[in-house]
């Protein structure tokens, strides 16, 4: 006798449409959706997860492409990083394309999807700061129909994915202006972000929006710094800024995302200490990295 069958007796369904997928999840609430499997299967292989069943999303063609909807793009959750990295997509949402090209080695980018990246919500998820900077919404499909939620609400847990719901689309604005995604990693080959910055210009709203990834559990928005720098840009003119303004913006962003430790009467902060005050060297370096990324991102967006 072998115990083999008992343990791998999970069911796999391969629905061909979103409706079928939602129905399959409703029929088997313990089943887990799987798209590219690049996050999920790693968890299964390491024994962290033993799904009773799998609902494969790979055959749902309606979520593997994108379409236009009044000034927005509706991006299918099944879009792979490889697809988003291609020039036609890059012309549409350049920062998301850049993030997709940076999201791991080619094998992973061929399989990994936008929806999986959002659902996994890893701090180092490269699409996330871009979606936060774009102020994109996600469209969720569930047994009671679909609903639309700002991506930040989903990521902060304010409005999480409910049981039986699937990420169907991402609604992202088409801004027709420069966007930048920059990612710092520990090696030249593919690696997870130690820090990342997404920055988009929104000329219609005369806004600069920026999100910092990987330094906190979810992307951070330095709203004051955004407003400050947006006010300095001549939106009707050349849209250039003095390099010193870019530097100041970088530092503003970095201070906002990696603030000084709150004053502790027992271990007072030494303002005369090495760069970064009393910050441990690794944290000081992270702050310096964010400052450099934000400065470079702004500079590139305006050049």
């Amino acid at each position: 006798m072998s115990t083999y069958a008992r343990q791998t007796g999970s069911t796999v369904t391969l629905p061909a449409s979103l409706d079928e997928a939602v129905a399959a999840l409703a029929a088997m609430p313990t089943a887990v959706p799987v798209a590219g499997g690049t996050d999920l299967m790693a968890a299964v292989n390491s024994g962290l997860l033993r799904p009773a069943g799998l609902v494969g999303l790979g055959r749902i063609s309606e979520i593997r492409g994108w379409q236009y909807a009044d000034g927005h793009a509706l991006l299918g959750a099944g879009l792979t990083h490889a697809r988003m990295g291609r020039p036609d997509f890059a012309a549409l949402i350049p920062a998301l394309a850049a993030a997709a090209r940076a999201a791991g080695p080619p094998q992973i980018r061929n399989a990994g999807t936008l929806g999986g990246n959002i659902a996994s919500a890893a701090p180092t998820g490269d699409a996330l700061p871009v979606l936060a900077a774009l102020e994109a919404n996600v469209i969720l499909a569930g047994p009671d129909g679909s609903r639309e939620v700002p991506v930040s609400h989903l990521l902060t847990g304010m409005d999480p994915l409910r049981p039986g719901e699937l990420l169907a689309f991402v609604r992202a604005p088409l801004l027709h202006a420069p966007q930048v995604f920059l990612k710092a990693t520990a090696r030249t080959g593919p690696g997870r972000a130690t820090a990342s910055v997404a920055l988009v210009l929104d000329p219609a709203r005369r806004g600069v929006r920026c999100a910092v990834g990987a330094v906190a559990p979810m992307p951070l928005r330095p709203l004051e710094a955004e407003r400050w720098v947006a006010g300095l840009i001549d939106w009707d003119g050349a849209r250039t800024l003095d390099p010193q303004v870019c530097t100041a913006f970088g530092e503003y962003v970095a201070m906002a995302c990696i603030p000084d430790p709150v004053d502790d009467p027992v271990n007072p902060v030494d303002p005369t200490g090495p760069a970064g005050g009393a910050l441990p060297p690794a944290v000081a370096h992270l702050r310096r990295t964010v400052a450099a990324l934000a400065r470079r991102a702004l500079g590139r967006a305006l050049s």
Partner: protein
């Protein structure tokens, strides 16, 4: 009984043990080269590149069970109780074993038997084996292992090697594994210029391409066969037999395909539970380690804390080197004694230094175990003494290459151990070669090809923030075991029907021994077809595949055996024509006499004959370092010089190694392609040590034991490796005059990268791997 899941399954009979890397003649690759000095292709090259070469993880036997090992989550704890009843009661579980089920010796070890098969009273490192399970499915085995209830009393771990001296003993043998003081010259000597430095080396993991795997098959006679990726089959057999309580002839180790060959193959904690479970259940048992277990189980490179003081005269000539070397051995002794001997003996590097004073210690801690990783001991000190040379150059205002040139060692000089360097030591020539090599061009603005910036193609790099740095390093490493190890190897050569067979238990680990053995036999006997049989313990011992041994001792044994066969072949001919054997030559499959009168073919002469010979090679003996660190401890030395060129983003601290120019002392090139491949591999491993490879721990607990957490160099991180010079000055005592090539580039390249980053950033760079925060320029 066992069959490969690989490409040859179909050809295997039902009872054939086929998952063995039978290294036979070339696989029709159109390869026509043969003999020494040419690029003979490895016989297994095609299978390896096609992914059909069978490794241990591909083994399979009818009715096999799957094993899983329970490992300690704590770095230091007392085991209060172990309850295996739940695990044993689970359906599908066939056996659960703990320390109580070890019939033979409870302790084992390659040098010192200080390591339990299963921890029983105390746990000394995170990941130490506690128990093992055999079940009918791998998941069942894992679940059952997790169901074993161990009650621990968690103890304070000792993780700072500096505190190990005063800490309560972690082991009955104490915390000091070895202390070597070295005293050479006059302690009162001083120089006009003095520089001091502290250097810290991280924990590099062997991170093999294939994690540990193996199959144990019980034998009808009560013995057991272990099919494992062993690199030292006889030692593994002896260790296993002692723990199994069996005579050595009832344990057989059969070497399977070896995917990586450092400490990752020297973890008996993997092989012993496997054999014990097979003996207990009477079934074949297979164990395949997860990547996490692989990181936790095997030994790593010794983390080191190195304090140096260099004295030089005003011209930059070294006067005295003082050093304190502290190696973190982790929980058990393993190869620490050897690593320490190398670190102490090479503490001053390949330089002439009249006065050297070193204190070296290897201490026990609750950190992950340390062991054999290429260039152990030598690599750590190279990073430090080369850092000191850069400091001296800066202080004296000299060019770093020039300062080194003024101090290089040569044949006839003394090591600080008092041993005379008798082998070729072309250190100055190597340095000159890398110094004079052309520098890679700087990318220009109008360059069409994209500049690969530090941080990668999609990284955040900005050309304006990138600085280029050039750095030099020289280094040395010993070949073969040191300090009195008996380095013997035995080989047999058989010739029949125009085909030669080599039987030698030297393991082909990818280092190219099997190819070399073929080349030697082709050269000596003029036979094209040479098969090298797979290694097992039924053959005489050849010793471990490490420290460049096999080119020397096993290559030497093969050559001797082949020459004996040659004499047998030529003797009758010589007698017939009334001339001595020496007057006959074999070339291109033909036998010719000195005067050209006699000319026949090897095939014709061999017809109907079967010739055999067995020979041994044993290099000259060495001695243990004495209480002053003196003694002729090494058989041979190899040297290398590397010039590194790096690009550093001085704001982000990201580094890319652009170019590594290598000059190496190789004695003689026996296979140019293999030499180049070994150097490229060694440099890449060294670049990993310099930039990213560090198995981090927090209070003894390994953090992120995965290939995501532990960053190996990828194709984008691997630099361009340019071999600018191979110095072929034959080492007269080595067979063929050849020196081992694998270790020297690993030893030298981390130091070279550090030197280049110093040049780019102006920062001291005393820690490897280099952290980004220490590679940002001071004035940003």
């Amino acid at each position: 009984m066992t069959a490969a899941r690989g490409g040859r399954e179909a050809a295997a009979g039902p009872d054939a043990v086929t998952a063995l890397p039978t290294v036979a003649a070339p696989l029709g690759t159109g390869e026509t080269e043969r003999g020494l000095g040419v690029c003979v292709l490895p016989a297994d090259a095609a299978a390896k590149t096609q992914g059909i070469f069978p490794y241990a993880a591909d083994l399979w036997a009818e009715g096999l069970l799957w094993a899983a090992v329970l490992r300690s989550p704590h770095p230091h704890a007392r085991i209060v109780s172990i309850d295996t009843t739940h695990a044993a009661d689970m359906p599908g579980v066939r056996a659960v074993i703990t320390h109580a089920d070890v019939p033979g010796d409870a302790m084992h070890g390659r040098r010192v038997a200080d390591r339990p098969v299963f921890a029983h009273d105390v746990v000394r490192h995170h990941g130490e084996p506690i128990a093992a399970v055999a079940a009918d499915h791998p998941d069942t085995a894992r679940l059952a292992a997790a169901a074993i209830i161990v009650e621990y009393e968690v103890l304070e771990p000792v993780t700072d090697p500096e505190k190990a001296f005063a800490a309560p003993p972690l082991h009955p043998d104490g915390n000091l594994i070895r202390h070597i003081p070295l005293r050479f010259g006059d302690p009162a000597a001083t120089g006009e210029v003095v520089v001091e430095g502290v250097y810290r080396i991280g924990r590099q993991d062997p991170a093999p391409v294939g994690a540990e795997a193996g199959l144990a098959v019980p034998r009808p006679d009560g013995g057991v066969e272990l099919y494992v990726a062993s690199t030292d089959p006889h030692t593994d057999r002896d260790l296993a037999a002692a723990c199994f309580g069996l005579e050595t002839d009832r344990v057989k180790v059969v070497v399977t395909g070896v995917p990586g060959a450092m400490a990752d193959r020297e973890d008996p904690g993997f092989q012993l539970p496997l054999g014990l479970l097979a003996l207990k259940t009477g079934h074949p048992v297979k164990l395949v380690a997860t990547r996490e277990e692989s990181f936790l189980g095997h030994a790593h490179r010794h983390p080191a804390l190195l304090r140096y003081r260099h004295h030089a005269d005003a011209e930059g000539r070294l006067v005295k080197v003082e050093a304190q070397l502290l190696l973190d051995a982790g929980a058990y002794a393993d190869a620490s004694s050897d690593a320490l001997a190398a670190a102490v003996a090479f503490a001053a590097g390949p330089y002439v230094v009249p006065h050297v004073f070193v204190e070296g210690w290897a201490v026990r801690t609750n950190n992950p175990p340390s062991g054999h990783v290429r260039g152990e001991g030598a690599m750590q000190v190279c990073a430090a003494y080369e850092g000191q040379m850069d400091k001296l150059a800066a202080k004296l205002g000299l060019d770093p290459a020039e300062l080194r040139m003024r101090n290089v060692m040569a044949t006839g000089d003394l090591l600080p151990t008092g041993q005379t360097v008798t082998c070729p030591a072309p250190v100055g020539e190597l340095l000159k070669a890398v110094r004079d090599a052309e520098l890679p061009p700087l990318p220009s603005a109008d360059d069409e090809t994209e500049w690969l910036l530090p941080g990668g193609l999609e990284g955040a790099g900005e050309p304006g923030a990138v600085r280029r740095g050039v750095g030099y390093a020289l280094g040395m490493v010993h070949m073969l075991g040191a300090e009195g190890h008996d380095e013997v190897s035995t080989a047999t050569v058989r010739v029949q029907n125009g085909t030669a067979t080599v039987i030698c238990s030297a393991v082909e680990t990818g280092q190219g021994f099997a190819t070399l053995a073929r080349q030697i036999v082709q050269e000596v006997l003029g036979v094209d077809e040479v098969a090298v049989l797979p290694a097992d313990t039924d053959q005489p011992p050849a010793g471990p595949s490490a420290r460049g041994r096999h080119t020397w001792v096993s290559g030497g044994a093969v050559e001797r055996a082949a020459k004996m066969v040659r004499t047998q072949l030529l003797q009758p001919l010589a007698a017939k024509f009334g001339m001595s054997v020496e007057l006959l030559t074999i070339a291109d499959g033909k036998i010719t006499s000195y005067d050209g009168v006699l000319s026949t073919t090897v095939a014709e002469t061999l017809h109907g004959k079967e010739l055999w010979a067995t020979a041994q090679c044993r290099p000259h003996p060495t001695e243990k370092l004495d209480e002053n660190g003196q003694g002729d401890a090494f058989v041979g030395l190899a040297f290398a010089a590397i010039r590194a060129v790096v690009d550093v983003d001085i704001e982000l601290g990201t580094i890319r190694v652009v170019d590594m120019a290598v000059a190496q002392d190789v004695g003689r090139v026996l296979n140019p392609r293999q030499v180049a491949a070994r150097i490229e591999a060694g440099v890449t491993q060294g670049v990993g040590m310099a930039l990213t490879e560090d198995l981090r721990t927090a209070r003894g607990v390994v953090k992120r034991p995965s290939l995501t957490g532990y960053a190996l160099p990828t194709a984008l991180d691997a630099p361009r490796v340019r071999i600018v010079k191979l110095v072929e000055e034959r080492d007269v005592v080595a067979p063929f005059g050849a020196k081992a090539v694998s270790a020297a580039p690993v030893v030298v390249s981390p130091a070279a990268v550090a030197a280049a980053v110093r040049a780019a950033t102006g920062r001291p760079v005393g820690r490897l791997p280099i952290r980004p925060q220490t590679a940002v320029a001071r004035q940003v």
